[in-house]
C-alpha cells in the first residue's frame, strides 16, 4: 500500500478541520473494507483520519420509538446489544451475519453505510426501517442517502455521526450469503409498521440497495405468503457475475423475500 499521513482524532470538530484542510482524505473507522482496498492499491488516500477514538460516535440509545446507533459501533456490538436484540432483533441478527467474528470485532455500521457496497447488509436495514442518517451537519432520510454503486449523499466534508432506526412491529432479514465472503448474493429486509410494509433488497441491483415497491404494495394489502409468491423480481438490471447470473440472482431475491415473510406470519 502507498504511504499516507495518519491522523487520530478525538472530536468531530477535529475531523471537520482535517477534512477542510486536506484533499484526498479517507475516514478510517474499523478499516475492514478500506485497508484491504488500500492494500490492493484500489484506494490511495493521502491522509487517513482515524475516528475510532471519538467517544461521541460510540453509543446505542433506546429512544422509545426508535433506536439510534453511533457510527463507530462495531457489528459485534450491534449484534450483542441488549437494546438492539430487544427492540429490533432482525437488526441484531443482520449484524451477526456480516463477514466473520474477527471482521465483526472491527467493522462499523457507519463504515458500512458510508461505503454503500451493493452487496452490503446494513443499507437494507436503513431503507426498510425508515432510518435517518445524521451527519455532522444535517439529517438525511435513508431513501435520499443511498444514491448508487458505492455512492451516497455524503458531501466531501461530511461524516456519518449516527443512524436512527424506527422500531417496527416486526421485521425479518433473510440473505443468501456468498459462501466465501458472506456478502449478500441476495438479501431482503421486510419490516412491518402500522401504516406500511417496507421491503429493501441488497446484493441484486446494479445500482445498489433499493426498495422493492411492488412487493411492498402486495404485502401492505395483506401480509401473506400467497401475496409474496405473486410478485417476482425482474432480472433486468440485476447483477451478473461468476457467482450467479441475473436470472438466478433475481430468483434468489424472490426466495429470500418468501423466507422473510414466512418468519413474520
Amino acid at each position: 500500500m502507498y504511504n499516507f499521513i495518519y491522523e487520530k482524532v478525538n472530536t468531530i470538530k477535529e475531523v471537520e478541520k482535517l477534512l477542510s484542510e486536506n484533499e484526498e482524505t479517507k475516514i478510517l473507522a474499523g478499516g475492514q473494507t478500506l485497508i484491504p482496498t488500500m492494500k490492493q492499491r484500489l484506494a490511495s488516500p493521502s491522509t487517513l483520519i482515524d475516528i475510532s477514538g471519538i467517544d461521541e460516535l460510540n453509543f446505542i440509545n433506546d429512544n422509545g420509538n426508535s433506536v439510534t446507533i453511533g457510527s463507530t459501533v462495531t457489528h459485534h456490538e450491534v449484534s450483542s446489544s441488549d437494546i438492539v436484540m430487544n427492540k429490533i432483533p432482525s437488526l441484531a441478527s443482520l449484524a451477526e451475519g456480516i463477514g466473520d467474528p474477527h471482521v465483526r470485532n472491527m467493522g462499523t455500521i457507519g463504515g458500512s453505510i458510508a461505503n454503500n457496497d451493493p452487496t452490503a447488509d446494513y443499507p437494507t436495514a436503513c431503507l426498510s426501517l425508515n432510518a435517518k442518517i445524521k451527519t455532522n451537519n444535517r439529517e438525511i432520510n435513508a431513501e435520499d442517502f443511498f444514491i448508487g454503486l458505492f455512492e451516497t449523499a455524503l458531501e466531501e466534508n461530511e461524516i456519518v455521526v449516527s443512524i436512527e432506526f424506527n422500531i417496527p412491529k416486526k421485521s425479518s432479514y433473510m440473505k443468501f450469503p456468498n459462501p466465501a465472503s458472506r456478502y449478500a448474493m441476495a438479501g431482503v429486509y421486510v419490516s412491518v409498521f402500522d401504516d406500511a410494509v417496507n421491503v429493501a433488497v441488497t446484493g441484486a441491483s446494479e445500482n445498489g440497495v433499493f426498495k422493492w415497491t411492488e412487493m411492498e404494495e402486495a404485502l401492505s394489502s395483506n401480509l401473506s405468503l400467497e401475496n409474496a409468491k405473486n410478485i417476482k423480481l425482474s432480472s433486468d438490471g440485476v447483477m451478473s457475475d461468476i457467482h450467479a447470473d441475473s436470472a438466478y440472482r433475481a430468483n434468489l431475491v424472490d426466495i429470500m423475500a418468501l423466507r422473510a415473510v414466512e418468519n413474520l406470519i
Binding site: I5, G31, P36, D50, H76, D100, H102, V103, M106
Partner: protein, 152 residues
C-alpha cells in the same frame, strides 16, 4: 515516522512505525513474534488473528498505528510459562493440527469464541470458524479440540 506505544503480551513497547505498516508485520518483523502468520494477506484466512483488547482481530487488516495505546495478545502470550493454555493443550490432546500453519489463528479465534459463547456445540463452533481456513481441511479435530477446551 509515528511512535506507537503498544502493550504486547503484557509488555509495554514503544516503537517507530511507518504509517502504512500492518500490525502483523510489526509483530513479525519488528517484534520477532513470528507465531502470528500471514496466510492469504487478503482478510480471508484468519492465520493472522491476534487479540486486540481481548477481542479477535485480523492483524493483516489493521495498521500498527491503530493499535497505539492498546493491548495486543499473540499466540506467544497465552501460555503460562511452561504450562500451555487450555486451548493449546486441547489442540495437542485432540490432534487439532496437521501442518500447523493455521493453528495460531485457530487457537486465538477459539479463545475468543469460548469467551463469547457460553454454550458451545459443534454447529456453533463451525459457524464461528467462518473466518479461519485450514488448507489441510483438518476441521474435524479442530472443532473437537475447541469443544474439549470449552468443556474444561
Amino acid at each position: 515516522m509515528p511512535t506507537v506505544n503498544i502493550n504486547v503480551n503484557g509488555q509495554d513497547l514503544s516503537a517507530e512505525v511507518e504509517e502504512r505498516q500492518l500490525l502483523v508485520h510489526f509483530l513479525r518483523d519488528d517484534m520477532d513474534l513470528t507465531g502470528t502468520h500471514v496466510g492469504c494477506d487478503t482478510s480471508q484466512c484468519g492465520a493472522c488473528v491476534v487479540h486486540l483488547e481481548g477481542k479477535a482481530v485480523k492483524s493483516c487488516t489493521m495498521l500498527a498505528v491503530q493499535a497505539n495505546g492498546k493491548n495486543i495478545t499473540t499466540i506467544e502470550g497465552i501460555a503460562d510459562g511452561d504450562n500451555l493454555h487450555p486451548v493449546q493443550e486441547a489442540f495437542r490432546d485432540h490432534h487439532g493440527l496437521q501442518c500447523g500453519f493455521c493453528t495460531p489463528g485457530m487457537i486465538m479465534a477459539a479463545i475468543d469464541i469460548i469467551n463469547r459463547k457460553p454454550n458451545l456445540d459443534e454447529k456453533i463452533v463451525r459457524e464461528e470458524l467462518e473466518g479461519n481456513l485450514c488448507r489441510c481441511t483438518g476441521y474435524q479435530n479442530i472443532v473437537k479440540s475447541i469443544l474439549a477446551a470449552a468443556n474444561k
